[in-house]
Amino acid sequence: MTSRSVTTVVASACLVVSMTASVLLLHRIDRLHPRATLEDVLYVSSPKIVKRASLGFDGLMACIYWTRTVQYFGSRHMERAASFNELAPLLEITTALDPNLLPAYQFGASFLAPPPPNGAGDPERAVQLMKFGIAHNPDDWHLYYDLGFVYYMELKDYKDAAEAFERGSQLPDAHPFLKILAGRLAEQSGDFTTARMLWTATYESSHETNIRQNAREHLKDLKVDEDVTNLQAAVTRFGQRNGRLPASMEELAAAEHLPGVPVDPDGKPYKLDADGRVLVQNPDSFPFITQGFPPGYKAGPPKFQ
């Protein structure tokens, strides 16, 4: 074997062994401090500083920060975290770097405003984010819709919600439901139909998986809330007619001429407790319901896939 061949063999072996070892070590290092990236990100939480530091590569930096935002929310959700303190600054940095990054605004409307554990519980900052988005993208109806959505769902400010939907509906390519929503809110607020329209619109107008799944969960839970409300009204009617509470859900269904025992969206029959309360069998499957769970029940965070 020549000297050159020996060198080639030794160097090749070194290359393979060292590269394999470095990959394995990197894997271990990642497990050692998996959250370092996101913590590092927020040592600079000022959007203005990050924008200046990006040296003109705003678009690229916005993409990086947007990826970090999604990662942050996803990982915190997986951990069932009770707070999302970095979500607002991450979204603000992302949109400051690229004010035309529309998915960031929609993400903000869906996850920045709702209270924990479903979101960061910061509706005021969500409104600011939407207003910033509208200022930079005044011709995009989605942002007016998102603004109205936050006003309606989280702040229960139906007047401002109607105004946002109305402004959005005046744009040339606005979706027709904005006009309908504005009209409905002017007439009545806080009903199931309007809420269902809002969540359906969110589901249909978004391409982002998390947002669509969140909307789907809400629609399912809204159906439960509506069912429980209607069944509870039926229990009251039964009591007024018969002077007693129905003994079972079967008796109630027969009295109301229902085709069978009503079931929740998962196909499980609703229950009736001794006090005449209508309950779902498995409240953990419906994280956003506001009624139909046993007294003292504490809902866990929703499980996104």
């Binding site: 060198t7 160097a11 070194c14 290359l15 060292s18 290092i29 999604v70 996803g74």
Partner: protein
Amino acid sequence: MSARIYYIARNTFREAVRDRVLYNLIAFALLLSGAAILVGEISIEIERLVVVDLGLSALTLFGVVIAIFIGIGLVSKEIEKRTLYTVLSRPVRRWEFIVGKFCGLAGTLIVNASCMAIGVFGALLYVGHKFGRPDAWIFVALYFIILEFLIICSLSLFFSSFSSPLLSAVFAFSLFVAGSFSADLRGFASLAHGVTRWFAMGAAYVIPNFSTLNVISNVAHQQPLGMHLVVQNTFYALFYTTAVMSGAVLIFERRNLK
């Protein structure tokens, strides 16, 4: 063998020290440390933070620039001046030449980083009037920066062993930038599916991971670093450098120098 590597390394070091660009960069780094003091003076409550962040970041950037711009010329300059033929006509093997050059450049950068570190500690003493126990973590950050330099040196030499200086600089600098965002690349890979996921994950593990070696923000905030991280980063940098140097040796060994 070790004597031959030593002599090549010593000559590389001497040549680098004679280089005016090197001195200018050191002077500029010291100037930047001065700027850190100025910023520290006008900042409220974050003087120490500014000095550590600015000082160590400047130290890293200048070191990387020096490593790339000297590293890319180490082989090509020798070929251009035809001094390589004189060296290789003696009982010096090609791999010894490459390893010697690497050691010389690494030595230059360590000396350079030490000078700059003295400047950073001087600035820190100026704004804080004394050193605290958490300041010791700055040595760990400096150590990681030196590990970063070793990887950059090996990459510059690797590209220099087969490419032109200009292209080598572009390749090395691109890898430095990509390596600084490697954690994001892994995050991106975890969000992707199918072939994209495997491609992104593979790339994230093959490119150098500079983000794990960058603990400047942690030490600026006086956060302690685990001993595990120090040990694993050390081995990671050594293995990665060895892998890249092996690649450089393999290419240079088979390169036609006629």
